[in-house]
């Protein structure tokens, strides 16, 4: 029963914002590329909720091993969603996207989004190269989680400052859930305890 409720809540958290955005009056005045750009952004924010849930093994029925593999696939999906978001915005208005990428946009939310975008790419790269990098687990984790925090904070601020197709209540709820999920996984990973242990060992 508990697991059904958790899955239903996660499904609702992912689907409701998409359905609500599909009812936005702004869609009537946008072409298909611009509409696709908006939905890619909404989907990306939804995937940001799945990531900490999968990494932390919080979803009932998904063991940590399977969770980590799904985490990698969802991460790849997140990269694709971000690329689609930026590319479709570029088709809609090239100069606005160039301004955003060069950090000279008049809109404050652009810089938050661009920083989050680079953190998504870096985080995905770190995940893909995990075997080859031969970093200590604690170091690798610290890098990956730091990037995840930058991604989540950047994306939430980016989304909240935008007057776009997302409906406001679903946007606030999804953003809060994403922040809460990443906070929980950061606490549960006990990174600080690991760091302290590492410092103690190297100091001996």
């Amino acid at each position: 029963m508990r697991s059904v409720l958790i899955w239903a809540a996660v499904a609702a958290a992912l689907l409701v914002p998409v359905v609500a955005a599909a009812r936005s009056p702004l869609l009537a005045w946008r072409d298909s590329f611009y509409i696709a750009a908006g939905f890619a952004g909404v989907v990306a924010l939804g995937l940001l909720l799945l990531q900490p849930l999968l990494a932390g093994g919080y979803l009932p029925g998904v063991r940590i091993r399977l969770g980590r593999r799904l985490h990698a696939w969802v991460g790849a999906g997140l990269v694709l969603a971000v690329v689609a978001h930026v590319a479709a915005l570029w088709v809609t208005s090239p100069p606005d996207v160039v301004d955003a990428l060069l950090f000279r946009s008049p809109t404050p939310f652009s810089a938050w989004g661009v920083v989050a975008m680079w953190a998504v790419f870096a985080s995905a790269l770190l995940g893909a190269l995990r075997g080859r990098l031969r970093l200590r687990l604690i170091v690798w984790r610290l890098c990956h989680v730091s990037l995840a925090v930058v991604i989540v904070v950047g994306s939430v601020v980016h989304a909240m400052l935008i007057d776009g197709t997302m409906e406001i209540v679903s946007k606030v709820v999804l953003s809060a859930l994403v922040l809460a999920a990443v906070a929980k996984v950061v606490v549960d990973l006990r990174l600080l305890a690991g760091l302290r242990r590492m410092a103690w060992r190297s100091g001996r």
């Binding site: 702004l26 009537a28 005045w29 946008r30 072409d31 611009y34 915005l89 809609t92 208005s93 100069p95 606005d96 301004d99 000279r104 946009s105 008049p106 809109t107 939310f109 652009s110 400052l161 935008i162 007057d163 776009g164």
Partner: protein
């Protein structure tokens, strides 16, 4: 009806502001600074948009004043180009663009379709482009943001300096 009254009130306010500015500026000793170009102001600009009575179906007002840097004298017959993402088209669409001239008091008013939020903000674009005006001032691009996406008008003021 209320809309007409509102537009009239805006016009009266603009006229009063212009008159007040005209009275005050001589006391301020040549101090009026030129308006700088805003970030992103020139985005999706199409040079040489034609002078039109209104852009598309109308229903929304873009208003403003044009004055001379230094003494603040209102500038008549200045060509101002206007474009925005509206209910009738994207910023880059040629039919979203139009130009108008200031009147004897340096005031311009352009009727255009309702501006809707695009790229995260409901905003408009205005240009004074030296290449399309014979008065010899330096080019300025503005990008004013609407306080609310439900506003039915937006205003932007230019203070131009000699090129």
């Amino acid at each position: 009806m209320t809309h007409a009254l509102k537009a009239r009130r805006t016009l009266l306010t603009a006229a009063a502001a212009t008159a007040a500015a005209g009275l005050i500026t001589p006391l301020r000793a040549q101090g009026l600074a030129p308006t700088p170009t805003m970030r992103g102001g020139a985005n999706n600009y199409l040079a040489g948009a034609p002078v039109v009575q209104r852009i598309g179906g109308g229903g929304f007002w873009m208003t403003g004043t044009v004055r001379r840097a230094g003494d603040g004298a209102p500038l008549p017959r200045i060509r101002i180009q206007i474009w925005a993402h509206t209910t009738e088209g994207h910023e880059r669409d040629p039919h979203s663009h139009g130009a108008t001239l200031t009147d004897a008091n340096g005031v311009f008013r352009m009727e255009m379709p309702q501006i809707v939020p695009a790229f995260g903000q409901a905003h408009g674009h205005l240009a004074y482009d030296a290449a399309y005006d014979e008065n010899g001032f330096a080019t300025v691009f503005l990008r004013p943001v609407m306080r609310s996406a439900r506003d039915r008008s937006l205003s932007a003021d230019f203070v131009l300096q000699r090129a």
